[in-house]
Amino acid sequence: MRLRFRRRADRRTGGLALALLLAAVASALSACEREERNFRGIPRAASTGMPPVRQTELQPGPPVRNAPAYGPYQENAYGVSQGKTLYNQFNCSGCHFQGGGGIGPPLMDADWIYGSRPENVFESITEGRPNGMPSYGGKIVNDQVWQLVAYVRSMSGLLRKDVAPGRSDDMQVRPQEQSTDKAKPVQSAIPKSAELP
């Protein structure tokens, strides 16, 4: 885990849950800090034991097949529903709304600019993306990022129906994740960044 500990004093009103989360982040970070010193200079993938995360089909030399999709909570209804709560608490909903998008792109459709695999979505959340996706790395503990990943993927029907959320506490604004048909992921032809002259 890359270390990033320049948190501004985030002011907030309400949301005790968030305060607890941030406290958890702080302790997780201090644990990582030691590790970061030990592993300085070692490539990220190696230090985390993750296979490479790719954004493209094209590879130099003979293509190495992607490892099968992985990531915790993809088959865990509890984790997905936690992810849904976090999705609103971390204000993902403020930019992506309930999946239809607004400031950020839709998350309930088939289009993925940066990849639909769990590890791609993990990176979208932690690293941020250049055209306005904030980098949540170091602000949410990894376990909760994986819960968010699982929930985000359920929005376009990529998880099993019995795992995806079947109800909302708030005003009904979209078909439930459970009844959303699986949208076969396609790489978005026009990422926002390519719209510029």
Binding site: T13, G15, N91, G100, G102, I103, G104, M171
Partner: protein, 556 residues
């Protein structure tokens, strides 16, 4: 300046194009901006050059009007930070530039103001005025008054603290900054402050009308229009909605959000204020245009300002004192029953107040109000105000609020739909003296473009399907139309080119909050997308596609 004059009338005294010959209007030339987001700007004509500001990435193009086809002279690229796209609530728009003393001034999405040499296209100065990590962006067109560039921030959906800032036009240095919320010394309230209504008098109301420190993240941006009266030497501008939208977390009047100020342009001192929507419940920003007119009222000519307000009322205020002279509905309203002229406060309908965890239905007007940013025009010949606006209602629920700097702070779920009649847009010709609509045009989609009116008694405006239309200013009869490539949400302008001919120009390129469903490629299955506007615009993707293009028309 985009509003044509300090009084913001958008009236052109050119009269070559008339109600008789406008049907012969032809496309003279066009220009692709190469940008696909919502084009809300007014092209600016200075001498023989036209200046066009695009949505993010906020390019400035200079076109040579003295040569056939208006070829490109130069392009200036301010290279705004990419991440600023994440802090713009409602598409990546820009409302245009202003000219003063050989320089073009405009704002960039990443909260900078730039001055560009109008001849060479070289940057003269660039000043950082806000911080995207606090949720600040800028979309408004600046106004230059007495050598000061007036600029305000956007970000009422991001927990910003609103301000209006004056920069020195030559150096770009900060002259003064007036906050919307906070202690009097930050709001620039001093001995000269004399608001008309009692509720606006008192010490540090920008703090005491909020719970705790909520004023620090209470919104009240300044992203709309500024007018100036040189005789009274006062500038006028409105302040945006309080944050978050969910009103439960901010009991109190939330001063001075959803309000307006009259200030001294040299020092920024507040002279008076008036609050359109105390403790705003519906995102009814108070930033629309303020048209400065001298009107006969009760047999006496008075210096007034006319304001088609988001909350649904057409206000006429005495612009010297801030007294409300009249306020009449110009659209369908369920949230209030009128404005109490004694106190200046709206008479609220308690049933329509949104609450945490409860869905309130049939809120009219919806969050964008009866009218949003799209500016009106006024003709001294017909004595009518031509008001482009929408006809929308909504359901709304307050949700839990979490402030995390740099992310949205809205805490509400909204779902908008067409108001009574089923049409979503209207153009109303309003008589501010008789206080009534003289005629109305209905449009399928919100009329999100500005209007302009000429001495030939022709009104121009555009529709979100892409039609650019000319109307008879007296009757509202349609006289001419032209189909542009994309929906129109820009501000049409009228000018005389070096060839002596009268032209009318407009940017086409759908987007903005109303057009976000197309500009952002949003998914219409989520009714709450784009703050609930998508629900009302599900058929827009069938009606138009994106793409920025400038069109200039003239008689043959």
């Amino acid at each position: 300046m985009p509003a044509k004059n300090f009084a913001s009338t958008r009236y052109s005294s050119l009269d070559q194009i008339t109600t008789d010959n406008v049907k012969q209007l032809q496309l003279a030339w066009s220009f692709s901006t190469g940008v696909l987001r919502g084009h809300e700007a007014a092209p600016l004509v200075v001498g023989s050059t036209m200046y066009v500001v695009t949505p993010y990435p906020n390019l400035l193009y200079a076109l040579d009007l003295s040569r056939p086809g208006a070829p490109l002279k130069w392009t200036y690229d301010p290279s705004p930070v990419l991440a600023s796209q994440g802090v713009a609530c409602c598409d990546l728009v820009n409302r245009g530039a202003a000219y003063w003393n050989g320089k073009i001034y405009y704002n960039t999405l990443d909260a900078h103001t730039v001055a560009v040499d109008s001849r060479s296209g070289k940057e003269v100065w660039k000043t950082k005025v806000g911080d995207i990590n606090r949720g600040e962006s800028i979309t408004m067109a600046p106004l230059v008054v007495k050598g000061k560039v007036l600029v305000g921030n956007s970000g009422g959906e991001f927990g910003i603290r609103g301000w209006l800032t004056a920069l020195d036009g030559e150096s770009g240095k900060l002259a003064w900054r007036a906050y919307t919320t906070g202690p009097d010394k930050d709001v620039l309230i001093g001995p000269r402050f004399k608001p008309f209504y009692a509720q606006d008098r008192g010490k540090d109301l920008g703090v005491s009308t909020w719970p705790g420190d909520a004023w620090k993240i209470g919104g009240g941006g300044v992203w709309g229009w500024i007018s100036y009266d040189p005789e009274l030497d006062l500038i006028y501008y409105g302040t945006a909605n309080p944050g978050p939208w969910n009103p439960d977390v901010r009991p109190g009047d939330n001063k001075f959000t959803a309000a307006m100020f009259a200030r001294d342009p040299d020092t920024g001192e507040a002279i008076w204020t008036y609050q359109w929507s105390p403790h705003d419940l519906y995102d009814h920003d108070g930033v629309n245009e303020l048209v400065l007119l001298d009107l006969p009222i009760d047999g006496q000519v008075r210096k007034v300002l006319v304001r088609p307000e988001r909350n649904g009322y057409m206000y006429v205020l005495d612009r010297a004192t801030g007294e409300v002279l009249s306020a009449d509905p110009y659209g369908f309203i369920t949230t209030s029953t009128g404005i109490d002229l004694k106190t200046g406060r709206p008479i609220a309908v308690p049933d329509k107040a949104p609450q945490t965890g409860k869905v309130v239905r049939g809120i009219c007007p919806a969050a964008p109000g009866t009218k949003d940013w799209q500016p009106s025009s006024y003709s001294p010949r017909t004595k009518l105000l031509y008001v482009p606006h929408q006809n929308l209602c909504q359901d709304m629920e307050g949700t839990e609020a979490n402030y995390i700097a740099g992310t949205p702070y809205v805490a509400a779920m909204v779902k908008m739909y067409a108001g009574p009649g089923g049409h979503r847009g209207e153009l109303t010709a309003w008589d501010p003296v008789a206080r009534k609509a003289v005629w109305k045009i209905k449009e399928r989609f919100p009329v999100w473009s500005g209007t302009v009116v000429t001495a030939g008694d022709v009104v121009f405006y555009g529709t979100m399907e892409g039609w650019f239309k000319a109307l008879d200013a007296r009757t509202g009869k349609e006289l001419w139309r032209f189909k542009t490539g994309s929906g129109i949400i820009g501000q049409p302008v009228v000018y005389r080119a070096p060839d002596g001919k009268q032209y009318v120009a407009v940017l086409s390129g759908v987007g903005g909050w109303a057009g976000a469903v197309v500009a952002g490629g949003l998914d219409i299955r989520d009714s709450s997308a784009a703050l609930g506007f998508v629900n009302a615009m599900k058929d827009l993707p069938q009606a138009t596609t994106k793409g920025g293009m400038l069109y200039a028309f003239a008689l043959p």
